[in-house]
């Protein structure tokens, strides 16, 4: 007998898109300055109809998708969310709702339970009303607390997610205590990743090394203390690393994102990349998109790599990192992710890190740009 667990590893042949992320809408009542939705989201008003989504769910399930995330924007803005969750559940998906909690009243949560929803990830911006409401540019802290109460009342698995950055990283201990108080099963302390709106605001959001070290030590102490009661995840900002992340676990490897207008993406920020537009589920079936489309094969595996990745012994460990980051920081998505200290462009990352160590001069600071329709419509920066 050999009762072991096989790690889910990429194979030489193309595996199924285990993770289907359905971004139902870019509409959102919050205005977080680190939102990962495209900066120009306001220019894309089209949304798939209910029947289109039902077809996408079926087609992805047929080729092996098993985790389904309903996200946005705020997915509760869609009136047909319950219909989509019910179909996903019937098809055998494990269903995840990624929400700010705004719009989650008792009627809707009861309907979602009935539809077979498995888990809710609830975002907070901080453990305090003041910072939460400042960062979301709304008065939503109490609404979120109420959402947390309903999630527990209806016996859902609850993941609390808090995006971490310079302005709340020193509250990590309070955030953990808050997660314990609302009885979360998992807590994700996810340092902002610097794309889209977070990239615009990078100077205001990037923590110092000292802040990061302290926050991680606090998290480790609590992880030990909490044991199996609550699982704690701490995701570091990759600018502080010397090797890039294996972004999305590989291009076209396990993740399939469908944007509100039906564009299929290997990751939710890939739309910023130059080249042919990505395929749309209105024009192509999910199987063909995943296995055959140019977009999904563009950076699959290692064949597309240039030096220093091409001959690097570690190229299978990180697959060259993130294509979007390479594009944003070097102008060429086929370059190594400059987080890697073997990249000739690593200096661009070091410069941001160096800047973050300085105490900012309040007068010279760029103002924080909150995500909003007006800001988006006038956006010049595409990432």
């Amino acid at each position: 007998m050999n009762a072991q667990v096989q790690p889910v590893t990429p194979e030489t042949s193309i595996g199924p898109p285990f993770w289907l992320l359905a971004e139902l809408t870019y509409e959102c009542p919050l205005h977080c300055p680190f939102c990962y939705n495209p900066v120009d989201f306001a220019k894309q008003k089209t949304e798939l109809a209910t029947d289109d989504w039902l077809r996408v769910l079926r087609e992805a399930r047929e080729i092996g998708s098993v985790q389904c995330g309903f996200s946005g924007g705020e997915p509760l803005q869609r009136k047909d969310l319950e219909v989509l969750v019910a179909e996903a559940h019937r098809l055998g998906y494990y269903t995840n709702l990624l929400t700010s909690g705004i719009g989650l009243n008792e009627k809707r949560i009861a309907a979602l339970k009935e539809a077979g929803l498995d888990h809710i990830q609830l975002s907070f911006q901080d453990s305090t009303r003041e910072v939460n409401d400042f960062l979301s540019s709304t008065r939503t802290f109490d609404l979120k607390r109420e959402a947390a109460r309903l999630i527990k009342k209806y016996d859902f698995e609850m993941v609390m997610n808090c995006v971490i950055h310079r302005m709340n990283i020193d509250h990590v201990e309070e955030i953990i205590k808050f997660a314990v108080e609302i009885d979360a099963n998992y807590l994700e302390l996810a340092n902002a990743q610097y794309y889209s709106w977070a990239h615009i605001n990078i100077e205001r959001l990037m923590p110092t090394r000292e802040q990061l070290v302290r926050a991680e030590a606090i998290t480790n102490r609590w992880r030990e203390k909490l044991g199996n009661k609550m699982r704690l995840f701490f995701i570091v900002p990759d600018y502080y690393e010397t090797r890039p992340k294996k972004c999305m676990n590989g291009w076209g490897n396990v993740f399939l994102t469908i944007a509100p207008d039906g564009v299929a993406l290997p990751c939710h920020t890939a739309r910023m990349l130059p080249g042919e537009p990505f395929p749309n589920v209105s024009e192509m079936g999910v199987r063909e998109i995943w296995y055959d489309s140019e977009g999904f094969n563009r950076y699959r595996g290692t064949g597309w790599m240039k030096e220093p990745c091409r001959s690097c012994a570690e190229r299978f460990d990180d697959l060259g990192g993130c294509r979007c980051q390479a594009f944003m920081l070097t102008g060429d998505p086929t370059n190594a992710d400059p987080v890697c200290d073997k990249s000739p462009h690593h200096g661009a990352v070091l410069a941001v890190v160096a800047m973050a160590q300085l105490t900012p001069d309040a007068k010279k600071q760029k103002p924080l740009v909150f995500r909003g329709n007006k800001e988006s419509a006038s956006a010049e920066e595409l990432f």
Binding site: M1, N2, A3, Q4, V5, Q6, V8, P16, F18, I63, G64, V66, Q67, G69, G92, Y94, N96, D118, H119, Q121, E157, V159, N185, Y186, G227, N228
Partner: protein, 101 residues
């Protein structure tokens, strides 16, 4: 397999009369595309090999470990599998994949 570590999270490991079930928050299902049992949990998946799948699919909150062992011995045409099954359950318990009823 480090049984000592696995068991140390609980006051004691599984015994032959313990009744295991799939852990709260996890769902076990057969995936035809992967030809494997998988454990699903918030935003994650563990793909199980054949034997692990055979053990966990019998953790139904009714059968005691001894009965699971007997079924597996019959299935694999082997004897003396109790230690291995208990060791796997202890490991799985530390991961919260199974719990005692």
């Amino acid at each position: 397999m480090n049984v000592v570590t696995a068991a140390s999270n609980e006051s004691e490991g599984f015994a032959l009369d313990s009744i295991p079930r799939v852990g709260r928050g996890f769902r076990l299902q057969w995936e035809p595309v992967q030809k494997a049992h998988v454990l699903l949990y918030p935003e994650g998946m563990v793909k199980l090999n054949g034997t692990a799948g055979e053990i966990l699919s019998r953790c139904d909150g009714v059968k005691p470990v001894a009965m699971i062992v007997a079924e597996l011995e019959k299935l694999f045409d082997q004897t003396g599998l109790d230690a291995e099954v208990v060791a796997f359950l202890d490991l799985a318990c530390a991961q919260r994949w199974v719990e005692r009823t």
